[in-house]
Amino acid sequence: MTLIAIEDLHVRYGAVQALRGVSLTVDEGEIVGLIGVNGAGKSTAMLSIMGVVRPSSGRIEYRGTSLVGQPPEAILRRGIAPVMEGRRIFPSLTVEENLRLGAATVTDRTQVQEDLDRWTAFFPILRERLQQPAGKLSGGQQQMLAVARALMSRPKVLLMDEPSLGLAPKLVAEVFRLIVQLRDLGMTILLVEQNVRMTLDIVNRAYLLNTGRVEFTGTPAEIRTQGDIERAYLGGGPRSETAPAGAGS
């Protein structure tokens, strides 16, 4: 079943046309990759889904109902949770408070407690640091927290924007393993990444974005056979993970 369907999406920032007619779909239970270089429009696509950026034209639908024009707070209530670029955890709140706020839309207190126990069991490091300010966590731990926080609302779809950005190579591998684990738990994931090699290792399908357009789409195998494309747009793979934070597309 198709959860997210984007059709002919155009977004402009002032004079800059960031997206020029992007269409994509995300089906239930899939990991869909959105890849491309900086400035290709990957993050813009994601921010449009989240209601942070308003498209100039085009359709964004979730289970057949439109998301365009909805404020950011309404999107999560539909069942789409974001893991934003740069983690965006709340540094002055404790780890536990970050997690509880992730369940701000959940009214059932026992459910919140259940989920809190579940995800802190899943991420033991968070359980150890439950009462510490989140700002004191390391980059990798903050990424775990950002993911766990998103899961606290029991979303159907996770939108992940550059989760590997700024992390040490060992942690990057761990994040990608985590994404696969989440899919195996039944989560649907739209993954925006610059780390193309590792993304192609885990996704079901991927869209290759270039200057605001979908350049190519298909399974990882199909994309890999287009070796030229990979060399032309994607550079050396693992190197991109050292890109400075905040330099996302």
Binding site: M50, E73, R77, E97, L101, A104, G135, K136, R149, S153
Partner: protein
Amino acid sequence: MNDFVQYVISALSLGGLYALMALGLVIVYGILRLVNFAYGELIMVAGYGLLLFGRSPLPWIVVAILSVIAALVAGVVMERVAFRPVRNTSPTTLLITSFAVSNLLQNIALLTISPRPRAPRLPNLFVENVTIGDIRIKIVDVIALVVSLVALAILTIFLRRTIIGLALRAAADDFTMTRLLGVRANIVIASAFAVSGFMAGIVALFWIGRSGQVWPAVGLQPVLIAFIASVLGGMESLKGAVLGGYILGFLTMGLQTWLPQGVNNYRDAVMFGIVILVLVIRPQGLIRPVYLREAR
């Protein structure tokens, strides 16, 4: 020694009020980047509440509670009417808007009530002293001390234990992310103004309790104090605001007690000179939590 005990009690009492004043300002600033000049008029609203409700035969404590509620409601209404429409403009525009709102409310009070100070009904407790040994303490100081601590405790629980409280603190860190977690922006902002109004209301009880009078510009001095305390503590930190308030309380009482009058006349000038200095040299305030320094 006795002088010292008296000093500490008055300073703690004054510092508690100053802390509440600063908190009411900072809680809104942290979220909206609005330095709310009209915060003083919330204190004025509570003051006139004391005056008007005080004319009824209700017991004073009920009058006080109604006045605090009046300030709280005024805070929420102020946001809805004046600040929501300009919410997405610059901090400068917001500040100028609040300056206009402040003038508007003062002049409405001037027009509809009176330009002259009025004395609301206050309990006798407010003017009585208690003597323990050779220490004479104003009862109102003790009450203010206790009430400010209770108000701080209530606020702490609210900010730590409720989702709205968590959202308020989170929004000060990152408003967009807070909204992305499904928290409604309007509710967060309205709550911030409600807290601000609540603080103003509590402050009003004792601020007006001290002077015994309420007039249209009664909120000016508290708002100036709140500026100083929150700049000292760093405009973005709630803990800083509390600390800034207490430091200022001790400083004010200290200067008043031990400095000659001639020098004291320049107290405000020196204080605001320090404000400029802190803003220029240490804009993050004198105190700033370690984790924030790392995160930004």
